[in-house]
Amino acid sequence: MRATIEVSGLRKRFGPTVALDGMSFTVRPGRVTGFVGPNGAGKSTTMRVILGLDAADEGHALIGGRPYRALRSPLRHVGALLDAGALQPGRTARDHLLWLARSQGLPAGRVDEVLERVGLESAARRRAGGFSLGMRQRLGIAAALLGDPPVLLLDEPVNGLDPEGIVWMRGLLRSLAGEGRAVLVSSHLMGELEGTADHLVVVGRGRVIADTGVADLIAAASRDRVTLRTAARAAAASALDRAGAAVAATGQDALVVSGLPPERVVAVLNADGVPFSEVAAYRVTLEQAYLDLTGDAVEYRGAAR
């Protein structure tokens, strides 16, 4: 089976609300694909459609070329974490995974293996109802890994994790992709994906806004700008302005210059005898690049902004 998720032209309405408006993207093996967008952008709905839980009005979603409902023992093909709280509190962690294993014809020994991989072996015989959110997330990850699937689909897996848990989760996602799996991870916080995702599918209002590599996205948002540190801010600004650059002040002694490459900036300043201490390529953060992209697509914006 090809380790891919192909989503094409999904449309879905809930009453008057358009949840999915032509959602299309492909998740490829061997990398972590971040699925990012503001709340209400359609991330969870898309995941539910991929898993055959919700039916789309139009379009289709395929796992390794086949619709989810056509998969026998689907957890051997796709592992998913949708909602870590979705378990019956009276059952122990081990029993929770045991019924799942039985549903896929997997041996009970597999349950102990995944409990160990997520670090829950000592809590295996405790009732899941008493687990912290972080422990539930780990149990949910264990359930996703149960069938050793080539495709993983995780909805907000970092939610509720403590700093140590976040570091663990990042390492796990990297290693899963390193094993050649296709990993789709949703988040409404771009910062959570910095250093984890290789590729991004950015969504807003039920459709894809950008489908791009993380490095490309940052480069594009940075737009070949140059940061300049100088004590003579006014002189530098007028010299660069005369040379045809656009200049914006970003601090007491800092300017951001666009329209001129770094070498030209240095040459212009030297020619006018303007002193400066630093010239560097301007890099936006992933968060900033994301905000630039989704500026139009945020559905619920605070009134104060």
Binding site: R48, L51, G52, L53, D54, A55, Y68, R69, L71, S73, P74, L75, A80, L82, D83, G85, A86, L87, Q88, P89, G90, R91, T92, D95, L98, W99, L100, R102, S103, Q104, G105, A143
Partner: protein
Amino acid sequence: MRTYLHAEWTKVRTLAGTGRLLLTIIVLTVAASATASALVSCTAEGCGHDPGRIGLFGVQVGQAVVAVLAVLAVTGEYGTGMIRLTLAAMPRRTGVLAAKAAVLTGLTLAAGGVAVPVSLLVSRRVLLGNGFPPDPLDPTGGPLLRAAVGSVLYLALVALLSLGVATAVRDSATAVGVVLGLLYLFPALILVVSDEDWQRFLWKVSPTNAGLAVQATTRLADLPLTPWAGLGVLAAWTAAALLGGGLLLRIRDA
């Protein structure tokens, strides 16, 4: 299907509430039957009472717990959101409902298989002590054996009816309300309605009144339906509930 059954059985087996509910079914059924038997007595001229209905009276009480057990098998998953995990792991939804139905039927037959014979044995001792003639109390006699087997089947049908309703409405309180309403509304209505034709009609469509005809061992000719036909009425309700629930489960988003 085997994996679905294995999964659903594992779910039921690993919840502490299952054992408690099964025990409650048995205890309540036997206790209510014993109480009913203690409250009737016969005169020297004879007995107007039906030993089947008295000895198995507890089934009318135990059925409420059977309904709760069956409802929780479905709504316990909707209430927590675990149903999404279930349907992601087992995407053939009719198969999930069938597996739940099979496991539930097994559990109810087991609980009923204990509660019903024990009720009859306890009732027999009490009735004999009350001066009941021993003949109609012979448990191997045709009508009483039919009443016993029929009562166990009655409880299984109530479980499946509840399963179907719960699958359709997806909420514990609503489902228990609807099922108990179905089970106890008709007998109450029949008491209120004065018109005899209406009474007969309500009796014939009532899952409880018609269904419990299977417990009758005396004056069978007075019944609007034969005992097995009466149980058939309950079976029809059950089939409709399962069909409706199954259909909704298939077409609705989880």
